[in-house]
Symmetry: C2
Subunit: 612 residues, 2 copies
């Protein structure tokens, strides 16, 4: 039953040979890799206003322009730094790879931890912003916010387990439509206000005072805007997915991404300043602008729909990036190996499910409130930016080839600016939530170290000494003991007994007595049935079934020589339906787990299948 | 680590011989068995007022007296009926046993289901009422209502897992103190109002109107009061725990219980009518009376403390009764067998934990609101009363000994009154929650049938045919195949190989190839190491590890004769710490569960212990 549900939801298994990735050109690559970056116009601008409006009142709209300009400047610095990463790592160079190459293990693990945190947050942030776009259009859905988020995550999980990234082209259309819709909105908004001179009332009241801006508040506003910059890494990771000339195409896409962000982020921010839209938990800034510019008609709903869609696509970039990153780290042995295995549809299913699981927990903890999740966001990605750019600087100093000084300067500027931004983000949002990320990164790095250490121990324990050949076995000089625990005399015991006799005559039937009457009954049955070997009976005052067996095996009375083997034979009832398992004592499981801690005991499990 | 936590919480294991039950006389028996019944004065009276006050206003207090008198009358009818149960079932006759003896399987299962539901509800209802007593005294704790309930349940779970019922005498003191405190309150309240003539203001306003009472409202009030009658069954179950003459003692306790209920329930109801206490979600009626009679001083807090304590004791009666009932049903095979096993402290630990688990779920679903839980309560117990009394009537008609007609009449009256009450309860509280119980009883009965059916199948499948002797084995005419799956050439493979060679020469080393490079590496290692048997290699395009092995075993190329055995040898990494298990593919578990569905395959697990 489980299998058929699985097949229905995620489709038939795919063969390993069917693994091929579609390569895309600039036109398809731009929307696929940039939805994370461009979708952030849906929340970055209003977060800036959230900081500024209560602090400086009407002046907020002027100061917002400065903050947005600084964010866009930062974006272009990052774009130029990352163009050089693309040049140097055509096989796709995330911060993890760059750091591993140039800075060593610890920095690469810090980058990995920071990136993982941010990938997960991208899902939580984008999905909660998407839900906010939906509830802005249909306020009656507001109480079901968390449910909507979880449903969206479940849908994306199923889609990605099916392997939707393979049919990526269909996903390229919504971003383009979103861009077009927003450009139309920006143009219409501009025309309505400046040319037609229509100045609609703001939907929410603005506190009527002006204050001068403190540096701290401005930095906070800037930090809030930096959430728009998290998508840059995606392009440099995706180089191998481009058609030839891959590196050139990727670099062009990165530049185009900057231009699109400039237009959309700048445009929407400009509209906010003239239409006086402000942060409100019940209606997004984009929704407010939509109502003011187009009225609450078709166009408003179209904007909301495409905003929701692009945000879901942005979450989807994590579903592309995170499982691959995790599989690379897993191959290096710093996270559980299972993350490097492909599932039945060739997607990295463990990584996908892990991502969804943590994102759902975040959504539940933060009640699906985009605004409360955002302070955690972007710190991680700027940590990884800093590490990647620092790595690049060191690389140029090592290589010293061509115009390396010029390139080193660009990356150095990137590194310094990223580092400063990281500190600004960490400090200004510390109380609101970035402390969680600051604590989590070292914890994750520690965990990754421990995992690697364990894998190293296992590898060295399992390593074959090639001089150690298989031992000499002389079956006439050894005895193979088989111990069969017996509870009552029945067919499954008989099966075990018959099976054991195929291998040896040294059979010990062992009964642990916890109930005197049951033991008496067993012994009289045994006598009557007439198997001519004796039963070893041991009392277990604490009703523990396995202790007496282990004690017996280790006692002197049971003389085992080094060349002998001891095997415990246990039947296991196999039932037809899952719920029937609940009806049977899982004592055999406990016995297994205890026996398996003994180095020199083998364990035979014999299935006994119940007819219905 | 888990072991030491367990030892700290519930104490060292106890030997089976330490199982002995303390027998108690009338003085100790009364408080232990009656806390459920007498504790219900904490909620039954106020539930009556909850129904009456909004319907008839000031008249409520007069009508309340009638309802309470009817409830007490019903109590005495039940007591006289149950005295006859005690006479007939000295070994302790719950409704389940009486029904099984006289009415057959289905009625006994209905009684069992109804009783189980009510035992669980007793915990949820009493604990939530206890929490209400606490929050009435300390209103600042109101928001932590659910947390308080869960903490109380956890404490009781730990206490009962330790086996507190053995040291029962300490538990006899709080009920006596509760009785004394309430009697003092009743006397003082009477003196203050009637003799000293002090008439304090009611704490909450009473709607100032009078209405005539409709029959339906009166029945609802009566039904609300019936929640006070759930504890009668406990005494008739507990007969074997009394000192000789056990039956006589139990019957006296039952009568005394009636008298105590009469005094307390009657007295508190009388106080409510003169002090005009009404239902309020934030303060219980007893708390209101306490304030009006004694002021908010020491005496008020003492009353609240003992009310909370007696309610916890009442919940504890379920912890005594439910696991024992479940163990009896489990021995008959209608619920999972595990419920009949005693834990390390000799308590029926599975039953205790199950009870707590469901009670916690109920508390969470109903937000710890006693008032919302009560409509579910008492239906179950009256169903079981009806069945038990009907069973007794039939018993008298079968026996026809002594003054059987006289006795049959008493039980008949009990049966009819119980049946009528059941219908009243079911109908008047239907919408508020009794529908849940009405639906749940048949569902549980169905489940119990299915469970029994499964156990019957297992028993008949396992039943040894005594004429079927162990088969003849001629080791020279058979072959014992051992299949060793190999992933890479390492020490754990070598251990399996050496182990298998102790038993047979028919060893098949089997490699499932999911990755060409890994396979190539294995084959060249194999060649180099120089074990002279060939590896069977099978490709697995869907990366499934077990399919190829099963296919191979079932294929014609692998010629197995009926007398041959097939055994799959699998090493299992055993790690030192639990979290390290997460780091290893649990493929061997999947392989196990798939292989175990094959009737004719044995499975050897060899532990390979990782050093740290």
């Amino acid at each position: 039953m489980f299998d058929s549900i699985k097949k229905f939801l995620i489709g038939k298994s795919l063969k390993t040979e069917q693994l091929k990735s579609q390569k895309f050109n600039i036109f398809w690559g731009l929307p696929l890799l940039s939805s994370d970056a461009i979708s952030s116009v849906a929340y970055a601008g209003q977060e800036i206003l959230y900081v500024l409006v209560p602090a400086v009142g009407f002046m907020a709209f002027t100061d917002m322009v400065h903050a947005v300009l600084m964010v866009i400047l930062l974006l272009f610095i990052l774009i130029f730094s990352y163009r050089q990463v693309i040049d140097s790592y055509p096989q796709g160079g995330g911060a993890y790879i760059v750091a591993q190459d140039n800075l060593g293990v610890t920095p690469s693990l810090i980058a990995a931890a920071a990136l993982c945190i941010d990938y997960i947050l991208t899902v939580a942030v984008s999905i909660s912003a998407g839900a906010a776009a939906i509830t802005s259009a249909f306020p009656e859905l507001l109480p079901y916010n968390v449910v909507i988020c979880i449903l969206l995550i479940i849908l994306m999980t199923i889609g990605n387990l099916r392997g939707i990234s393979e049919s990526a082209k269909t996903f390229a259309i919504p971003p383009y439509l979103f861009i077009i819709i927003l450009v139309i909105t920006i143009v219409c908004g501009f025309v309505k206000y400046n040319i037609m001179g229509i100045h609609p009332q703001p939907i929410y009241k603005i506190p009527n005072f002006t204050n001068t801006l403190s540096l701290l508040v401005f930095l906070k506003a800037f930090a809030a805007g930096c959430t728009a910059l998290t998508g840059v890494e995606a392009v440099s990771n995706g180089v191998p997915n481009f058609k030839e000339p891959a590196q050139k195409n990727a670099k062009i896409v990165l530049l185009l991404l900057g231009c699109v962000s400039l237009v959309l982020f700048g445009g929407i921010s400009y509209l906010s300043t003239i239409y006086k839209a402000v942060y409100n938990p019940n209606m997004t800034v984009i929704a407010q602008l939509g109502i003011q510019i187009f009225g609450k008609g078709v166009m408003f709903y179209i904007i909301q729909a495409f905003t929701a869609l692009i945000l879901v696509m942005a979450a989807n970039t994590s579903y592309n990036g995170f499982p691959i990153l995790l599989s690379i780290i897993a191959r290096d042995g710093y996270v559980p190996r299972q993350f490097s295995k492909r599932g039945s549809r060739l997607s990295y299913s463990n990584g996908i499910m892990f991502l969804s699981f943590i994102a759902v927990i975040l959504i539940i903890c933060f009640k699906g409130d985009n605004h409360r999740l955002l302070p955690l966001y972007a710190v991680g990605v700027f940590v990884s930016f800093t590490i990647a750019q620092t790595g690049m600087v060191l690389k140029w100093f090592k290589d010293k080839s061509g115009s390396w000084k010029h390139k080193a300067v660009i990356n150095l500027i990137g590194a310094i600016i990223s580092c400063v931004t990281t500190i600004v983000l960490g400090v200004t949002k510390f109380k609101e939530g970035s402390w969680i990320v600051c604590m989590l990164i070292p914890i994750l790095v520690f965990i990754m170290w421990r995992i690697k250490a364990h894998y190293n121990v296992v590898a060295s324990d399992l390593k074959l000494d090639w001089s150690q050949k298989p031992k000499n076995i002389d079956r006439h000089k050894q005895r193979n003991y088989m111990i069969i625990p017996i509870d009552s005399l029945n067919k499954s015991f008989l099966k075990s007994y018959n099976y054991a006799r195929n291998f040896t005559d040294d059979i010990i039937v062992f009964h642990v007595s916890v109930n005197e009457e049951a033991t008496k009954k067993l012994l009289s049955d045994w006598e009557e049935y007439g198997i001519k070997i004796p039963i070893v009976v041991r009392k277990s005052p604490y009703r523990n079934l396995i202790g007496p067996i282990i004690k017996f095996v280790e006692s002197e009375e049971f003389e085992v020589m080094p060349q002998d083997t001891i095997t415990v034979v246990m039947p296991q009832l196999v039932v037809k339906r899952w719920w029937q398992n609940i009806l049977h004592n899982q004592t055999s499981l406990f016995i297994r787990s205890t026996l398996l801690k003994k180095r020199n005991i083998g364990l035979i499990t014999l299935p006994y299948i119940i007819s219905k």
